[in-house]
């Protein structure tokens, strides 16, 4: 039973437009949420996080939104750039353990 789901395996967006990546989780006990980006042949790199006491966190072009009632997390990238093309994983945490989603492959078209 998957506790963290990213229902879109892939997403294509035109350069300069907004990319929206979504993530759903099942357990309301999770209280810390993260997004990671992964390029081929590299380990995942941390992008942005949000705690359950907030509903929005912004860092430059990246904004993460948390809807606790819907158990839904989203990452907005605006404007999207070709270098953003990667696989994005959401992760949730309730203790020291992270549980990752299956990833969404984002392709930003020039």
């Amino acid at each position: 039973d998957q506790q963290v789901k990213q229902n879109s395996p892939s997403l294509s967006v035109q350069e300069g437009r907004i990319s929206i990546l979504n993530c759903d989780y099942t357990n309301s006990m999770f209280d810390y949420f993260l997004w990671y980006k992964k390029y081929p042949a590299e380990g995942p790199t941390f992008l942005i996080s949000i705690s359950s006491i907030k509903d929005k966190n912004e860092d430059g072009r990246f904004t993460v939104f948390l809807n606790k009632s819907a158990k839904h997390l989203s990452l907005h990238i605006v404007p999207s750039q070709p270098g953003d093309s990667a696989v994005y994983f959401c992760a949730v945490s309730g203790t020291y353990k992270y549980i990752f989603g299956t990833g969404t492959r984002l392709k930003v078209l020039a």
Binding site: Y32, A41, G43, P44, S49, S51, F89, Y96, G101, T102
Partner: protein, 117 residues
């Protein structure tokens, strides 16, 4: 942020053999984690390795199959034993940097791509 290296970066192994993956961190860390990413799948936690104690394995993973060593605060090894093609995967180690209750992140090594024939 912690810098993590892994050896080997990739390997092709025969069924029934074992491979030991090394993870080196440039700073002392309490908790190290080993993940697996099978083709098209998410990152799945195999075990948590704390220095000076036995590793804690997640459901579906056992010590006989994935023995882990953690001899000091900067190094860990994961062995994939008696390999089968189903073990073909990317294996990643990670460390956690915890700065506060809601201010922590895990840093990942570059991964070891294992192919079992």
């Amino acid at each position: 942020s912690a810098v993590i290296s892994q050896k080997p970066s990739r390997d092709i192994c025969q069924r029934g053999t074992s491979l030991t993956i090394q993870c080196q961190v440039d700073s002392q860390v309490t908790m190290m984690f080993w993940y697996r990413q099978q083709p098209g799948q998410s990152l799945t936690l195999i075990a948590t390795a704390n220095q000076g104690s036995e590793a804690t394995y997640e459901s579906g993973f056992v010590i006989d199959k994935f023995p882990i060593s953690r001899p000091n605060l900067t190094f860990s090894t994961l062995t994939v034993s008696n390999m089968s093609p189903e073990d073909s995967s990317i294996y990643l180690c990670s460390v956690e940097e915890r700065r506060g209750p809601f201010d922590n992140e895990q840093f990942f090594g570059p991964g070891t791509r294992l192919t079992v024939l």
